[in-house]
């Protein structure tokens, strides 16, 4: 599928062919693999790519928040990422975690970020080079930037947004959205005390934005989904959420860079926060039989 130049910001995506041509320019670009499966990188990756893992690298180990400031700078420095480096993210599962990693980088004010359309699957399917060797880059100087909170919604902001009847996109499965599914019995700590969705939210499961190939769907199809079915109006403020904010960062990327919504926020607290927090309004559409 040729890259869709009608996206609002087509420059945010690069093709597998482009990455293959430019991957040797390691002084300009840093390719980052970010996967849902923590072992996948070790089974083979783009030769110049480093691994950044959500569990181990991007999360603060004590407080529920992302690494920032000096810790973020140290992570970048370790991988030879300077403030001038353009970071190219790719990963498994339709670039789901690649978008999450990109969002965390953007949150930390590093705007030189791109997504390799089609992700890991496309690269592998095309028989492009893979290696198990882990590249070592000399540490780079990275100065922590001011954070960019504009792309993030916290709980009370989201509550105010919902009360003002502004646009909310819930990107979870229909069973989670309706409140039918809350948790798995064996892992109560993973569970949510209440099921359902934020009142007024529209359900657009995140993977609807991608095609079989793992690439993002063309603009026309995305507009049918988000503006047609979900009723979003161009230019309106949108907040996207899921369970922990990782699926919704994928949708955040779609709404912001492919469809051009300027004010899109990822509510990363998402349902694990909302569904467990005292007194938050919930709409439950599931009717047990």
């Amino acid at each position: 599928m040729a890259q869709d130049k009608t996206y609002a910001h087509p420059e945010m995506l690069v093709s597998t062919d482009w990455v293959n041509e430019h991957r040797g320019e390691t002084d300009k670009y840093r390719i980052v693999e970010s996967d849902e499966d923590v072992l996948l990188y070790a089974t083979g990756h783009i030769p110049e790519a480093v691994k950044i893992d959500w569990v181990n690298d991007l999360n603060d180990p004590i407080v529920r928040d992302y690494v920032e400031g000096d810790a973020f700078a140290a992570l970048c420095s370790k991988h030879g990422i300077s403030n001038d480096t353009t970071v190219i993210f790719y990963g498994d599962k339709n670039n789901w975690w690649a978008c999450y990693a990109l969002w965390v980088f953007m949150l930390n004010g590093h705007t030189k970020c791109l997504i390799m359309d089609g992700g890991r699957k496309k690269w592998v399917d095309e028989g492009k080079p893979l290696t198990k060797d882990v590249p070592k880059y000399p540490p780079a100087k990275f100065k922590a930037n001011a954070k960019n909170p504009a792309i993030r919604a916290l709980r009370d902001q989201t509550l105010a947004h919902a009360k003002a009847k502004k646009a909310l996109i819930d990107v979870r499965s229909p069973a989670e959205f309706s409140g039918e599914r809350t948790h798995m019995p064996e892992y109560p700590q993973e569970g949510v005390l209440r099921g359902g969705h934020i009142p007024g939210a529209k359900n657009v499961p995140w993977a609807k934005a991608v095609a079989e190939s793992g690439e993002f769907k063309p603009r026309a199809e995305l507009e049918k989904l988000y503006l047609g079915e979900a009723g979003l109006k161009p230019g309106e403020e949108v907040v996207a959420y899921c369970r922990i904010g990782e699926r919704s960062s994928h949708t955040w990327f779609v709404l912001k860079y492919l469809l051009g919504f300027e004010d899109v926020k990822n509510y990363d607290g998402s349902w694990t926060e909302w569904g467990n927090a005292v007194g938050m309004p919930i709409e439950k559409t599931y009717q047990p039989k």
């Binding site: 923590v38 798995m184 064996e186």
Partner: protein, 136 residues
């Protein structure tokens, strides 16, 4: 608890976090080949573990008082494949009574709970539950 399982847990608990992932990766490469009789689409349709997001197929049969376990896991999920491979190493051809008594918190006992996302751990536990139920 079976000796096979005990040994595996011991090894995992005696190494550091990074090595545990290496071990898991190792196991993912060691899944026994699937017998002919399970290779059909029909056989796969019956064997899918629904609770797991990744395509995981499990076949279990009692042979006398022992449990036989065979599995197939998508290549793109080495974490899941590694865990299922551990289950086979620990439980295949073991007395049913031992398998039925296996700990439910195996992910934690293997020291993997810190490195595997909660969602993933849920799927793995579902797979383990299936194996235990088959042995009961």
């Amino acid at each position: 608890m079976s000796d096979a399982l005990n040994d595996i847990i011991d090894v995992f608990q005696s190494v550091d976090a990074e090595t545990r992932l290496d071990l898991l990766l190792d196991y993912s490469g060691r899944m026994p080949k699937l017998p002919e009789k399970y290779q059909s689409q029909a056989a796969h349709d019956l064997a899918r573990v629904q609770e797991c997001m990744t395509p995981v197929f499990l076949w279990m049969e009692k042979e006398g008082d022992k449990l036989r376990i065979f599995a197939e896991v998508a290549e793109e999920a080495p974490t899941v494949k590694g865990f299922v491979s551990i289950l086979i190493a620990a439980f295949d051809n073991q007395p049913c009574a031992d398998v039925a008594a296996a700990p439910t918190d195996l992910v934690k006992q293997l020291g993997l709970d810190g490195q595997i996302r909660m969602n993933r751990a849920v799927g793995l536990t579902a797979i383990l539950s299936r194996v235990r139920r088959a042995a009961a």
